[in-house]
Amino acid sequence: MKEGKTTHFGYQQVPVEEKAGRVAEVFHSVAARYDVMNDLMSGGIHRLWKRFTIELSGARPGQTILDIAGGTGDLTARFSRIVGPEGTVLLADINESMLKVGRDRLLDRGIAGNVFPVQADAQYLPFPDDTFDCVTIAFGLRNVTDKDLALRSMLRTLKPGGRLLVLEFSKPQSKLLEKVYDQYSFRLLPVMGKLVANDADSYRYLAESIRMHPDQETLKQMMEDAGFVDCEYHNMTGGIVALHKGIKP
């Protein structure tokens, strides 16, 4: 029997070609309750993380912005107001369910005209070279099968001087926090997922996938290897989340 390549799906090893489908199942399953779970799991702090991301984006009126794995459209909604009628925001997600929830939510909030949803794979972005002033991926890179390929694809579509922002779970900076956080994610989170979204497995995957994701320095190195310059990161909430920034030369 031929041994195929495998990759991680949480703590399990799965064939590379299966990962995308497995991740898709998780997000089809959680799409409808995604927002309420985010508020509950993070105690609303995810709003602050996202606000800081917007601040660091340097977004201005008239710009063209890509929000990858934009899910239910939190960042997109804020960008839409900033870039105004002359600007454009593309809300990209590989998952149809998340994208539809996102589009409907944006419409409900009266955000339209300069926002377009596109179903796309971060590894093979369907946009021309040198297009975007800013590319963001918030809580998405973790789920991408080939992160190096995705980072190079983002670099290609950015304008020279454009910036990439990666908001993602990362490694807590103190042992004590790490301990508390582990208890929280592996004991409490699946129970909350079961109670609120009736889906313990998806939230167990969430906790596991966070532990498998590259830490702060590793991700920074990956961005540099992909060709980004002036790479830096900011830890938030003790490193539970980190915001990485890189510039296209």
């Binding site: 593309l90 149809e96 377009f116 949803p117 179903q119 796309a120 093979y124 369907p126 946009f127 021309p128």
Partner: protein, 61 residues
Amino acid sequence: MDKKLLSLLVCPVSKAPLEYREEAQELVCKASGLAYPVRDGIPVMLESEARQLTAEEKLEK
């Protein structure tokens, strides 16, 4: 399809610009021979979801 959006899309395989076929609700790339569906107004730019163009379609102007 919004003109602005169309101008920002390329085929993820060939990176060539796309032609919008309104009646079929598809975005066509002659270079890669693929047609991407537009579902519910959302362009689905995934190779796995694209349709292979027929030989006749590839020759059409």
